[in-house]
């Protein structure tokens, strides 16, 4: 029998809903919330979703499961007054610089206070001026705007399994911050920016580079070229009230808007995505052939790349060495555009418009610079681009579409679907597997699509069955990596995007609250693919021309120089080292034992004791210092010990003693 309950005097049926909040919202009644996100755990801190349940009093709807026969009132005098007080209390402790706040137009605190009819704040203002954290290129933390709902904390922990920020202190001193109240740049943050997306206020926002781009555009000496990522066309319209606008139409309007702002050339990152596929598929076939560094991990998501670099340094070799499309676009633009625009390289400014905050971090990676000049000078998010359109006074909805510039404006459908979770895989398959005649190329591999955070697929290539994993959310990715390391599962190809739904759900996109909007974006890219003439990246005639002109063939030395990059260990923890032994006299030799988790499990504790004992028995003990460090990021080769200038992997006490004696001899000489 179907269960039922009564909401505001009308009968409602329910079945699988987790809580009465979901039942109520399904019934088209909007309950206000700060801390409730259907994708996160129910936290129950904001107390805005209070409802009256007959016989049980006033309860938070988000953490009350529905029961048969419940009688619920969502709105009465008492509840209205409670909600008002909650919002007033928050406002009394809030930096109310709304007119200059980045989040102003999508701020939930603002819209709730309007909806709840808060027209005065009856409490004394206790807001303190707090320093902004401007340490990263991707995000700005503004603690004065924080309402302590914990959405960011839970997203970082529950979906991304990182926990770069958390609650600290207590009572009126409570705050959300990275460990040891350090700056975000010193934390494990991978800059996915989803904290900024779920933040109901302006406490975490993407960092803007708009002013730099305007400055470059108004400098007569500079030539400014720009390219938009696939996902941008799927969402830009939302900033102007259009959801799910046709991709060709919206990309055309974007091109018009960019030209009228004064950009000299308008390109499409989807072109570079086509190129990425050609290189990445070539790399995949090669690896598959010699069974080296399998499975291959995609490397187009900068948050995922940093994740691997800092948590799984021993799996870095599994990452594809291909640059992301942004990286490829940057290096090619910096190579060919100075000549094409007849301008010196120093005066060429390359701008990328991305759905992503981590791309801002990626553009500053030293690997993506040449001779001290960044390949991509500025990265704008879709949000920033929308603001530029507004600043220019353009009516986006009424713009006439125009075409991109050649050669880097031409793309195939394969390069466009790149923005969806599963899109990279699908494009690689279109490249690797010869399509059967008469089959619709846009549908042949559509089985890799889907809305789930973890998907698996099997395909047959030349009689060999390939196993593929497609993942979004870094917690899902962590599970896959752990299973691979533990030999629990075997894959040939693993696609990871950090953001839910892939790049279309990126934190640089217009803020969305309803998952239906994300789904609409996914659909836009798949439909855009259908309307394009070509679907397989390798068929892109301009990509072919690039190879003919100066890249040779995929995987060549030239291709490697421009289209590939290196990934390297990133230190996760900045703390330490810890002094274990301080010499009496001048320290001439330093010994450093790794005490990261992995080395500790491999016996670094015993080793340290043995080294201490050994040093103790020698007469040079007064010149030796011994430290413990938290990770040399060589976990697969633990325990690791540094003795003077030597780094000993898989170190035994015998090896350590030998190295100590060698180093001492050197010093005594």
């Amino acid at each position: 029998m179907e269960k039922q309950l009564i909401i505001n005097n009308s009968r409602v049926y329910f079945s699988g809903e987790k809580n009465i909040l979901e039942v109520i919202r399904k019934h088209n009644i909007e309950l206000p919330t700060f801390c409730y996100h259907s994708e996160l755990s129910a936290y129950g801190s904001c107390r805005l979703c209070m409802v009256e349940v007959d016989g049980r009093g006033i309860l938070p709807a988000c953490s009350t499961p529905p029961e048969n026969g419940m009688r619920i009132k969502t709105n009465n005098e008492e509840i209205r007054e409670m909600r008002k007080i909650i919002v007033e209390l928050l406002l009394a402790n809030h930096d109310k610089d709304c007119t200059t706040c980045r989040k102003s137009e999508t701020c939930q605190l603002q819209s709730l206070s309007r909806k709840l009819g808060v027209d005065t704040i009856r409490f004394k203002n206790v807001a303190k001026k707090e320093e902004k954290d401007l340490s990263t290129h991707a995000l700005v933390r503004d603690p004065g705007k924080c309402v302590l709902c914990g959405d960011c904390v839970r997203f970082c922990e529950e979906i991304q399994s990182i926990g770069a920020i958390d609650f600290a202190n207590r009572g009126p001193n409570s705050q959300v911050c990275p460990s040891f109240a350090k700056e975000l740049d010193d934390s494990e943050c991978v800059y996915c920016g989803q904290c900024a997306r779920v933040c109901p206020t302006g406490a975490i926002t993407p960092k803007s580079e708009v002013s730099y781009v305007w400055k470059a555009l108004s400098d007569p000496k500079k030539k400014v070229v720009v390219a938009i990522a696939p996902a941008v066309r799927a969402a830009i319209g939302e900033s102007f009230g259009i959801v799910g606008e046709n991709g060709t139409e919206s990309a055309g309007k974007i091109a018009t808007a960019l030209r009228s702002m004064g950009f000299d050339k308008v390109f499409d990152i989807s072109f570079a995505a086509d190129m990425t596929i050609v290189e990445e598929a070539n790399e995949f076939v090669e690896r598959l052939g010699n069974d080296k560094h399998m499975p291959q991990f995609t490397s187009c998501c900068p948050a995922w790349v940093k994740f691997v670099e800092q948590y799984y340094p021993d799996m870095i070799k599994n990452l594809s060495s291909c640059r992301s499309p942004q990286g490829m676009f940057g290096s090619i633009a910096k190579k060919i555009m100075p000549q094409a625009l007849e301008t010196p390289k120093e005066d060429l400014v390359v701008v990328a418009i991305m759905p992503c905050t981590a791309k801002k971090f990626e553009a500053r990676r030293p690997e993506l610079s040449k001779d001290g000049i960044q390949d991509i000078d500025y990265v704008l998010t879709t949000q920033e681009f929308a603001r530029m359109i507004e600043e220019s006074g353009l009516r986006f909805a009424d713009l006439n579409p125009s075409a991109f510039d050649m050669p880097m404006g031409f793309k195939t459908g394969g390069g466009v679907i790149f923005g969806n979770s599963g899109g990279v895989t699908e494009a690689v398959l279109r490249n690797v597997i010869q399509a059967k005649d008469g089959i619709d190329e846009t549908e042949e591999f559509s089985f890799v699509r889907g809305e789930d955070g973890v998907r698996e697929a099997k395909v047959n290539v030349g009689g060999k069955e390939l196993k593929i994993a497609i993942v979004y959310g870094l917690k899902n990715a962590r599970k896959i990596v752990r299973d691979i390391k533990a030999d629990k599962s075997r894959y040939d190809f693993v696609e990871v995007m950090a953001c839910p739904g892939g790049c279309i759900g990126g934190a640089g996109q217009p803020v969305y609250k309803d998952i239906s909007i994300r789904k609409a974006r996914t659909k836009v890219l798949y439909e855009n693919d259908k309307t394009l003439e070509l679907h397989k990246p390798q068929d892109n005639p301009y990509v072919q021309k690039m190879y003919e002109q100066f890249l040779g063939k995929p995987g060549s030395r030239e291709a490697h120089e421009l289209l590939h990059s290196k990934h390297s260990n990133k230190k996760r923890l900045q703390e330490g080292p810890l002094t274990i032994y301080t010499p009496k006299n001048e320290k001439k030799l330093n010994i450093n034992v790794c005490f990261g988790t992995s080395c500790m499990l491999k016996g670094s504790q015993k080793l340290l004791k043995q080294i201490l004992d050994f040093v103790e028995t020698k007469d040079f003990k007064d010149n030796v210092g011994i430290d413990a460090s938290f990770c040399f990021e060589k976990c697969s080769k633990g325990p690791v010990v540094r003795i003077g200038e030597q780094t000993l992997e898989k170190c035994s006490i015998e090896a350590a003693e030998l190295a100590i004696m060698e180093e001492i001899k050197k010093i005594q000489k």
Binding site: A164, R170, E575
Partner: protein, 162 residues
């Protein structure tokens, strides 16, 4: 010179005794604080990495409870009670006397030689003896500013004798 190692070794032991269990974070922090008299940043990071939780979470727990401290404390901790009864009996005067004696400026709690830390607490449950203070584990009742100064002098003398 072995002190650092033995402390650190003890931390490793504490974590092992608690079976690398993240749900035992609080007992681990308590035991570690007993060793160091405070929670050093590097040790917290080490605990986080050993228990496979984020350093931000460990920092959150360590800053939530008043019992934990991230700043090194003195060898002697003077806890002056400022609860209602002691307050009425002029505990403020005691606090000022200690501050003067130890040369602590506003916002400072620990002397530079790391010998003393001054803390105020809300109630020690010995209201009949108000005003009350604790010198480490030792309770002193009906304290006057003069008595406090003598008490501190005695500790300094004892330490100098070592």
């Amino acid at each position: 010179m072995e002190a650092n190692y033995s402390k650190f070794n003890r931390v490793c032991q504490i974590i092992e005794e608690n079976g690398f269990d993240k749900s035992k974070l609080i007992p681990i922090l308590q035991a570690v604080q007993n060793e160091y008299r405070y929670l050093p940043e590097e040790i917290l990071a080490f605990i986080a990495s050993s228990l496979n939780i984020s350093p931000a979470r460990v920092y959150g727990v360590a800053t939530f409870f008043a019992h934990f401290t991230l700043k090194p404390k003195g060898k002697y901790i003077i806890k002056v009670c400022d609860g209602t009864a002691c307050h009425v009996k002029k505990s403020r005067g005691l606090i000022d006397a200690v501050k003067n004696k130890l040369g602590l400026k506003d916002g400072e709690h620990t002397t530079k030689d790391m010998l003393f830390t001054l803390e105020t607490v809300s109630c020690l449950g010995a209201c009949g003896l108000a005003p009350v203070l604790l010198m480490n584990e030792e309770v002193h009742g009906q304290v006057t500013p003069d008595k406090v100064v003598k008490l501190i002098d005695a500790v300094i003398k004892q330490e100098e004798a070592r």
